[in-house]
Symmetry: D2
Subunit: 426 residues, 4 copies
């Protein structure tokens, strides 16, 4: 019951010109990076990442209120970078993620910033989980980036993405991510879906070619979201994006970066999106946050839904764990959390939840109850009639005859949902 | 302002042993079947169909209340068929749709019933828009039909679908529809998504083969719905189903039967689903109804949302109109509408809305404002840079160079949403 | 079918230093201010108002994108006021609404601005439908205004509201409105509901006393909204606010300003909120806009849902029409509508929809079908048993005895929903 | 990690003619009825109840599927009662709840059934948490019970409720509950809200008089739900119902029976409804279940959301715990859970979750961190300016003057949401 990260109390945290100087490295209750679980350390399993935008760039405005965060590092890109790495060191995790504009705003050279970031990475041992380009904020993208009715906007977006993947490549990023929040529509009345999808397909093909040309070894990820800021986004969810990728023959080149809050906005559980991606050999990485299912927008809260994360990590572990991906804490403190220590409370919540969920998931794997139930449930598909059907040994008429000949009248079997839910949650 | 179908007033409708004997054929305010619009009659455009299940089989129970409709034709399949055709004749439309169990419940021979239906079709000239099999009601299907963990259930479902498409073929149905409401899951904890999707893919392939073997010329349609009765259904929406079909190489064999209420439950407008299907060469037919967007379940109300139907029919007309599909009134009266005349009021509302929407949509086509706006909006993709990009004449670096060389700084252009909405709605 | 406001085409609108100099006063297709309907002119019925904030202050940012509207009047309060009145004159309506900060931002004297506004009102004959204070934007209000944990914030809010109602009073505003978007909570974990409600009750009582003291004759209005920007707002909907007002004995002092988009976010139809307010003698005014029921946030689109506005105005007309209230177009163009003419298209859509809805509603009133159906439906409550029950002539046991003695077995009667929907919509 | 209730495994549960003969009384992991917590036993705190309807009466149909539960006790009321008490004994809890029709269907004397129930209660020591009448299922109630347009339906409902409260009184029920699921509307077009609310107010007043007359000492509870089966229900949520009760002067006579799934359907957290009821001195009892926030209907799942139940019980404990109310497991197994042991798994999940939540909540109470944070947050309302405002010592002008004189410019303080969420959840 004791709150974790107790060393981060109000008395102890004192902010100075090096931002978090008096904060001791966080000691966690559940997160123990070097603890071995199923053959790997907790750190190797979770690959937890801090994102640059929410904590280091966002100033707290909402649609009805002014900015109100006065973070001491907002003045310059250099200060932001310094604060970001200092913060990650205090947390004791290993990865970060960023958009080009997070650290290199308009007028600042991304290349120069990349050098600075590289130095900090070298100094601290922190790695880049993924980089990305912000194609949503600038007015030129108001009607989409690659799906814009103006090919000049497509071209500018291509140049921007090229620079961003170049930077990611230089920084040895483990992945490059696309979230194309404006690529969708506000109204179908002015939108040619077929045309815009063709544009999008072209863009992704160009990116794939370029990735191979420069020898970027990381994965290309797409992050689905159904809507917001647009009424509809082309990357609505994993299945929608999968349809699109298959249409353009790109399904082997992209994996999904799945965000919990985006999943629920699309009407799915986080676990569903993970399971769908895994079942289609397209799972990549997680944007680990929580949405509020009673609110209709992206709240990006720190992940605390233990049940969802246990289930999600269980599925991922079952399929061999993360490869290039990890758990990116794409989350922000609430607007009223104006103090620096709130940033710690939020991240600690997220890290502890992930750690606790990993422990639960690993225990489920070890007990093997869920897997063995599942195996037994489908066992008849692995012999006799089941195999004959799947391996095309029977046509429709033969199956119908079989039903008649054998007077098939299969009885239902309990799905045991309550027993399984108890296994997962209690 | 005058309510339509005025001849259907309470005084005039008298029910007798031929069900609607004293009702005159309906005279509409907007629906004029023989009126020529854009080269075809209204009847040819809309291909309106009455469904057998809601009006002729449903007895009015809900999750909290007992059945309370005492329709005089409920006693026997023969009476139901008689009532169905009598009703359609009074309405003056041309098509019907049915599930196997609607007219041939357990214990009744579907073949014999098919004969009876065929006789009524011959007598009246009414045609079968589509047939289907109910794979949701029987206990054996509680955990899915083709995606059931038990291959015996798959086999029984195959036999049932074979019989249903045989009947549809004999009755010269214009389409055969699948709505697989149990094929999804209640909990991921007991569900192997990859396995179940493979089963589903196998089933559809078997059906395609059989269709070609028997020479059924109609289209195979799939009807997406996101959930209810299950937590998740594999045919969540058009895009999800499209991903599935593409995975199994079936995308050219199936078209979508789009239901308005299912679209909105999936978080989309009806128009979106139609536009998506059209943009993927997969539009088939409509289940024309209205949902209540403030309620989270399938209300199947008669279509009255003029704006959505105008937009939907506009999109369909732009792409050449219905081929094998049509407007199936998959709608039911509210539970408190216990009188026979309520059935007429509901259907008249639907038919009038479709007719009015067709008139509006045709006027939009003729004015050409929406199309010409759209054409102009994307015109730069049809020359110069746009064409070079789309036709693979430039790679990522060349595009980035082009941006630099030409100092591209594209300015945003108004999307004119309000102007276009005024065109559609006022 | 012709789009309305045709004179507002792209060729004709030329923007110059007096903002809309070359635009002719709008000629409408449906809105004819002087047309008599049920004894009043259309203008007198609808009392249409333009709001200052969306069109004259908002610069187009969203949570993922930068400001991008470059309106020529943004530089100074004086220019904004000039543009506002010029715009309303072009539209040919009679009212406006504003928040204090819309026209008198921080550092500008509200009194001086009030003088300027007063001069424009005198010059143009345009009146103030209502004034209000913005208690949501400033950082001090991040945790609520009157319900803030800090009484100093309550005090500052009181001073601000006092100044705003003073200004409204000087400008002969017909109403004063409260929308307290931050008065609610982000998390219950730090919120004392009882304490905060008591604070809110105190504030409203203070305002009522002050209103009477200064002799403000307009109505005090409260505008319900369920959430956004907060997780929960104390004025969730009319019923919730009514509970609150009754608790503090304030139910006779406040009426509701009902916004369509807020109604739907609370899970209600616009008509429901209107009907609830009317049934509780608390209907005041409308914020006439449309939400998008598939999006979970306040989209504030121009009203185009003819069916809802017809029903809403029908209910209002039945109860004698607007008194001090009217139809405030609390709506904004979409973010991609960056041109000045888009502002006209949006407002024209709204005005035409209201006009068309008024014509439909008046026709329904004149035909009297809906009313007479309703009267008949409840007629048994106006005599015999119904009256005995309502007028407390029977207790529970007597009623139970009556049931037994008379062997009461009442039969259900059709609710005729489809017939009534046809009357409303076709 | 071990699943609880391990003795309920498939091998061990054997069903015989006494239903659960071979099942041992359940041993729990967390639920220990006699364990003392904050001065009371766990059993005394939670007052867990099993409901008669879901487990003993429902046969598993849904809107798309046939009944499929073949419970051995369905044949007669006597068998149902026997099974109900046997089941509760195996679970080792103390309370049950029932509707009249659950155990006394049409044609069976409620009085006689009451005798049978009374005997079982005497034999087992199990008590009645509450009784109620089903006013939703019978066709006569299709348009509402007390709010029906026909006063004869009101009268029949009164007679039914009289019999139900008589039975509850005889069985020494701790409460009598009303859930009036049909009292609302399907369409406003045929509904007179003012009239129907007056009817409802009359009914409740009659019930209150009768309760006092017969000397029933339990509480009268109302159970809010926003919709389903109706489009709108008059008891939408606690606040809506509170407005209603206050309008008719009944707010001291009724308390709320709050159901988690109903709360979320209304757009609220469970905790919100509990906190609202507590803040208005109207908290009564809980219908402890979980909804699925991604589904739009009442799923009535067994409670497993530990965070919500911890918070809810924390709030209730803070206010002194349950009085007459308790935790009624208003939950059902999923439709695919067709075996008798599934009933145990579901109930065990619910009971364990409640027990674990109670332990967490008690620990929070004992640590006192949340309370002391809250106390400090509002401390300024307990002295000086805060007290002067609340105790009406200042009017609006005096407050405004105070702001000016003291140059009040209050600074925002962090709401510490993340810290508090960590305290609750980790």
């Amino acid at each position: 019951m004791a709150p974790t990260g107790q060393q981060v109390d109000e008395g102890k945290i004192q902010m100075n010109d090096h931002f978090f100087q008096n904060i001791e490295p966080i000691q966690y209750r559940y997160y123990n990076p070097k603890q071995k679980i199923l053959g790997k350390t907790m750190e190797e399993h979770l690959r937890i990442s801090v994102c640059a935008w929410h904590t280091f760039c966002w100033e707290g405005p909402d649609m009805f209120g002014q900015p109100l965060f006065h973070r001491p590092w907002m003045k310059s890109p250099e200060e932001k970078i310094k604060a970001l790495f200092e913060f990650i060191q205090k947390l004791g995790v290993k990865y970060f993620t960023f958009h080009d504009v997070d650290l290199a705003p308009a007028g600042v050279s991304l290349e120069k910033i990349t050098d600075l970031i590289g130095e900090e990475m070298k100094r601290t041992g922190i790695e880049l989980l993924w980089g990305t380009a912000n194609l949503t904020g600038h007015p030129r993208y108001m009607a989409g980036a690659m799906t814009n009715p103006d090919p000049a906007v497509f071209a500018v977006a291509a140049a921007q993405v090229k620079a961003a993947i170049d930077a990611t490549h230089r920084l040895k990023g483990h992945n490059y991510v696309l979230w194309n929040g404006r690529d969708g529509y506000e109204t179908l009345l002015n939108t040619d879906l077929r045309q815009e999808m063709d544009q999008y397909g072209r863009f992704l093909s160009l990116l794939v070619d370029y990735k191979h040309k420069i020898g970027f070894k990381g994965a290309l990820l797409i992050e689905p979201k159904p809507r917001e800021p647009m009424k509809h986004q082309y990357d609505f969810d994993c299945a929608t994006t999968s349809a699109f990728l298959r249409k353009y023959g790109l399904e082997k080149e992209f994996q999904f970066n799945i965000e919990s809050n985006h999943a629920t906005l699309a009407g799915h559980t986080f676990s569903h999106e993970i399971a769908y991606a895994l079942a289609n050999d397209a799972f990549g990485s997680l944007d680990a946050n929580d949405g509020d299912l009673l609110l209709g927008w992206d709240t990006d809260q720190f992940p605390m839904d233990l049940s969802q994360y246990t289930h999600g990590l269980y599925l991922i572990l079952q399929h061999g764990g993360f490869k290039t991906g990890g758990c990116n804490l794409d989350a922000k403190v609430r607007r009223q959390s104006i103090d620096l220590q709130d940033l710690f409370y939020g991240h600690i919540n997220g890290i502890e939840t992930l750690a606790k969920a990993l422990l639960h998931a690993a225990a489920l794997i070890e007990k093997n109850d869920l897997q063995s139930f599942m195996k037994k449930r489908y066992e008849h598909w692995h012999s006799g009639l089941g195999q004959d059907i799947l391996h095309k040994k029977m046509n429709f008429e033969q199956i119908a005859n079989y039903v008649q000949t054998h007077r098939l009248d299969p009885k239902p079997h309990s799905g045991r949902q309550e027993m399984l839910e108890g296994m997962l949650n209690l």
